[in-house]
Structure formats: structure tokens, C-alpha cells
């Protein structure tokens, strides 16, 4: 487990932090990232037929971390599946994620994402709004590429629930007013679950299903995804306080200044100072990462299992 952190520090030497961070993730998952990029690029080529599609495609293929589709592919391989079979699911998950970011940025009036002006800032409100309608269409097309009927139905069911939760989570998050209502731990957890963790869980679950995993394996990967997602959200909250825009590609304190619920805020409102609340949050993050890693006891040892463990450790330490 120490390996990743060592490589991380070593290999980052001489690279800017932002590039270094991306680079590490790409290096660990080189094979998966290449497979995803090739597939995404090929399958989305017909989006260019429609103007709204070509704008979304450009955004879609610009480099995000691609954590969620990586999780789908690795989960599928971890249960012995062929990665090709998991690709339609990985595509569907990443489209949903990208489309929701575009909407969230409108709601948050965010200026910067992934180090460049946000989609609605570059293209305007109209295409940013219509992207979700277009992306609905492409998610359905992706899922219809799943050959096995029963699996196709399951993926539709999982991602139907995931999109409803994403919308509701974003609604609860963006309408929360810390001056008017107490930020309880359970309120925070509900939002983090709906807004972030459920899609992580969906990504690993879909991978496990499309890889032909047994029920025990599917459950292990669901628990891994869920805990990883919660940890990811807490780390996002921490980075809002501690992150550097050159590394995160986002404005610092953007979410906090909008009065958004965050894990540190729960404890700041209880009287902790910011540093204490951040330490406390980092501890909780590590605890969830450990839970994610131990969930993997339910699957056999393999190269992919190692990668999932490394991914969790990356997530705990990530700077963006």
C-alpha cells in the first residue's frame, strides 16, 4: 500500500503539481484509460452530426480524471470479466457525470472547471441547458449496446435511480442555507450519498454486473464504491479549503462561500476552528478509505484488486 505514495512523490519530481497528479492516475491505469479514450472517441463520433452533440462531445473528451469509468472497467476485470463488455456501462456513467457537472456549474455560477472556463461560460446558457436532454439520448444509446438483456435492464434501473439522486442531491446541496438550518451529520451524509457516492457505487456495481460477478463480489464492489464515493466527497470539501487553483482547476473556497454544506463545516459550526475541522475531515476520509479497502475482502486477490486499493489510496491523498 505504501508503493503508490512513494511512486507519487518520486515521479512528480520536475512536473507541475497539476500535471503530475493527472499523470500518476493515468500511469497506474494506463491500459484502462487508453481503452476508455479509444472507445469514447469512437462511439461518440456520431454526436458531431448535431451541433449540440458536437459541443458536448468536445467537453466530454477533454481530460477529466475519468475515475468513474475507470472504476467500472477495473471492477469488471476484478471479477474476471472481459473489459469490452463493461465499456457501454463505463460510457453511460461518464456521460451522466459530465452532463451533471455542466448543470451544476450553471447553478453554482462557477467560472472555472478543469483549469478552463466552464462549459456555459464558453458556449452560453442555451447549449449548457440542452446538454442534459441530449445526454439522456446518448446514455440510452450506450446502455442499449449491452448485449445481455437482463444486464441491460439492471443497468437502466441502477442509472435511473442514480440520475434521480444526482438531481435531488444537487437540489438539496444548492438550496441549503447554513444561516437558517442546522447542518447535521445525517443531512450532510444524505446529500453526499445522493450527489456523489451513489454514482460511484453505480460505477463499481455496473462493472461487477457486466463482468459477470457473483452476488458476493457485486456486493463487495458496491460497498467499495459507496465508501470511496463518500471519502471522495469529503476530500472534495477539504480541497475547497486547502486546494490551489493551479492544481484543482477550480476556484478556492467556491463551494464554502456559497454556503454549501461540507464535512468541515459541520464541525466549524460546532465551534472547531478551520484547521481542526480539516484535520477531523481528513481523519474521516482515511477511515472511509479503509472501509472501502476492507470491503474488497469479498473479492479474490488479483492485479485489479491491487489497482482498486491503489485508487482508494490515491483518492485519500489527491490534491485535485
Amino acid at each position: 500500500m505504501v508503493k503508490v505514495e512513494l511512486i507519487f512523490n518520486d515521479e512528480m519530481h520536475g512536473l507541475s503539481e497539476r500535471v503530475g497528479c493527472e499523470y500518476m492516475l493515468r500511469k497506474i491505469f494506463l491500459e484502462e484509460v487508453e481503452m476508455l479514450l479509444e472507445y469514447f472517441s469512437r462511439i461518440t463520433s456520431d454526436w458531431d452530426k448535431l451541433k449540440i452533440g458536437s459541443m458536448f462531445r468536445e467537453e466530454f473528451l477533454s481530460t477529466g480524471k475519468m475515475l468513474r469509468p475507470i472504476l467500472t472497467i477495473i471492477s469488471s476485470k476484478a471479477v474476471g470479466g472481459k473489459p469490452e463488455n463493461a465499456l457501454p456501462g463505463a460510457l453511460a456513467v461518464e456521460i451522466i457525470h459530465n452532463s451533471s457537472l455542466i448543470h451544476d456549474d450553471i447553478i453554482d455560477k462557477a467560472e472555472i472547471r478543469r483549469g478552463k472556463p466552464t462549459f456555459y461560460r464558453r458556449h452560453g446558457l442555451t447549449p449548457a441547458l440542452l446538454v442534459a436532454d441530449f445526454s439522456f439520448s446518448m446514455v440510452v444509446k450506450a446502455i442499449l449496446m449491452i448485449n445481455n438483456h437482463e444486464n441491460m435492464r439492471k443497468v437502466f434501473e441502477i442509472l435511473s435511480k442514480a440520475t434521480a439522486y444526482l438531481a435531488d442531491g444537487e437540489y438539496l446541496d444548492s438550496t441549503f442555507n447554513p444561516a437558517k438550518e442546522p447542518l447535521t451529520l445525517s443531512k450532510y451524509m444524505e446529500i453526499a450519498y445522493k450527489k456523489t457516492a451513489y454514482l460511484f457505487k453505480s460505477a463499481t456495481e455496473i462493472g461487477a454486473i457486466l463482468g459477470g460477478g457473483k452476488e458476493k463480489e457485486i456486493n463487495a464492489l458496491k460497498a467499495y464504491g459507496l465508501n470511496l464515493g463518500l471519502a471522495f466527497q469529503i476530500q472534495d470539501d477539504v480541497l475547497d479549503f486547502t486546494g490551489n487553483v493551479k492544481v484543482t482547476g477550480k476556484d478556492p473556497l467556491r463551494d464554502s462561500l456559497l454556503g454549501r454544506p461540507s464535512y468541515p463545516l459541520i464541525y466549524i459550526l460546532k465551534g472547531m476552528n478551520v484547521d481542526e475541522a480539516i484535520s477531523f475531515s481528513k481523519e474521516k476520509n482515511r477511515e472511509l478509505i479503509e472501509k472501502a479497502v476492507s470491503s474488497l475482502d469479498g473479492i479474490d486477490k488479483s492485479e485489479e484488486k491491487e489497482k482498486l486499493i491503489n485508487l482508494a489510496l490515491y483518492s485519500a491523498e489527491r490534491l485535485r
Copy 2:
């Protein structure tokens, strides 16, 4: 064919024009409307579990014309199908339509819809934006209720294409600038096809498929839906010029003053005066209605076929 117009004038006596118009449609399709309302209300009851869902549900169940789901039900019955089997398709079509109206109203900065303030005016931009993401989820749930696997797949394919066209059509429509580009007939037709006619065609086609129609019947109902949809759009354009807000429930000249492409505008830009262009548009509308009606030669005579003919005639004469 004269029957409808006679009833129309007779029955409207003593009612306000707006109520009278709604009333007539509800009277002709009483059985279908009751069936749809009961089903929509029952199936959408669990939307209330999520805040974003309860807001959309209220909007969804407030009285629109429900033309598209009526078309699905009647098309299904017209080919001898059980209407119950068509209900999931009718629901999916109407959710897509309602969700797209909410987005269109944001893009158009529209104040009034169906005689009351638009959704984003009442609830704010955030829920209006997130409604599409939530509605994606509910469309998928609706389609998954179709028992027959092959039919389910077909409906997913049709509505996937319909949503991509809706988004692209709205994009082309709202970004069109009559000061900078010529409004050709083919440009207009492309927009009307994508923005309006394709969903009408989808509504009738889905009804015919779920009703177990033969290929010839499905094709007849597709052609009917397509021509009806084009006629419907032209009548919408005419109403933007001639309509009364008390009847249409929309601001007069709203679309025209935004520089939107419309059928009359093609001819106004060619030098016709407004009255001439409107007469010309009404003529084209009637021609498309006739085409829609004659498409129905491909299906056997039945009570439902009569209703489809009446619906087309209503559409030609409608005041809102």
C-alpha cells in the same frame, strides 16, 4: 368531418374560449384522458419522495392538452391493442414533452405557460434546470414497465432519437438570427421536424408498436403523426401572431419578437404582408392536416380512426 367543428361551436357557447377549447378536447377523448390522468397520477405518486420530483409532478399533472399521450393511446387502440399496454409509452412521451417545455421557457425567458407563470418563474432556475435530469430517470422507469423486451428496446431507441432531436431543434430554433441568415423553407422544416414533428411521430409510432400493429399500420400512423406534428407547429406559429393570451395561455408575439423562425416569417421576409403570410400558413396547415388524414388510409375503419381524424381537424382549427 364537419361534425367536430359543429360541436365545437355549439358546445363552446357560454364557456370562456380557453375553457371551451380544453373542454372540447377532453370531451372527444374523455375515456382516454381519464385513463391517462388516473394512470399518470398513480404511477407518479412516488416522485413525491424527492423534493425535485414533487415539484415536477405538480407541473406534470397540471392540465396541458395531453395531445401526445392521447395520440399514443388512440394509435394503440386503432391497431387493435389494449390501451393498458400503451400507457408506459404514453407516460414516457408526456414526461419528455413536459420537461422540454420547462427548459424551453428558461431559454425563451417566457413568463406565462398554460395561463400561469412558467415553472422557473414559480420555482427558480435550479429546480427548472434539474428537472431534465430527474425526468430522465422517470422516462427510463416508465419504459422499463413495458413487458415485451423487443418493444421495450424499440421504445428506448425511438425516444433516444426524439430527445436528441428535441435538444438540437431547440438549439437551432433559439440560436437562429433572422438578421444574419436567410430563413429558407428547408431550414424551417428541419427545425419543425426536430423540435415538434418527431415527437408527434414517436407518440403515434410507439402507440402502434405497443398495440401490436402490423408494419403497414405502424407506417400509416407514423406518417399521420409526422404530418400532424408539422401542421401543429405551423398552427403554433400562426397563433403567435393571431392568438389571444386568455385563450393560448402564452404571451402574444413572444416567439416572433425573439426573432424565432416561423412559417409566416419565411414569407414575410420574402415581401408578403403579415395577413398574407398568415393566410398562406393556414393553407399549408390544412394541406398537412389533409396529408395526415389520408395517411390513415393504411389502417382499417374504426371508432379510433374517426377520433384520429377528428383530432387532426381540431389541430387545424385550434385556438391554443
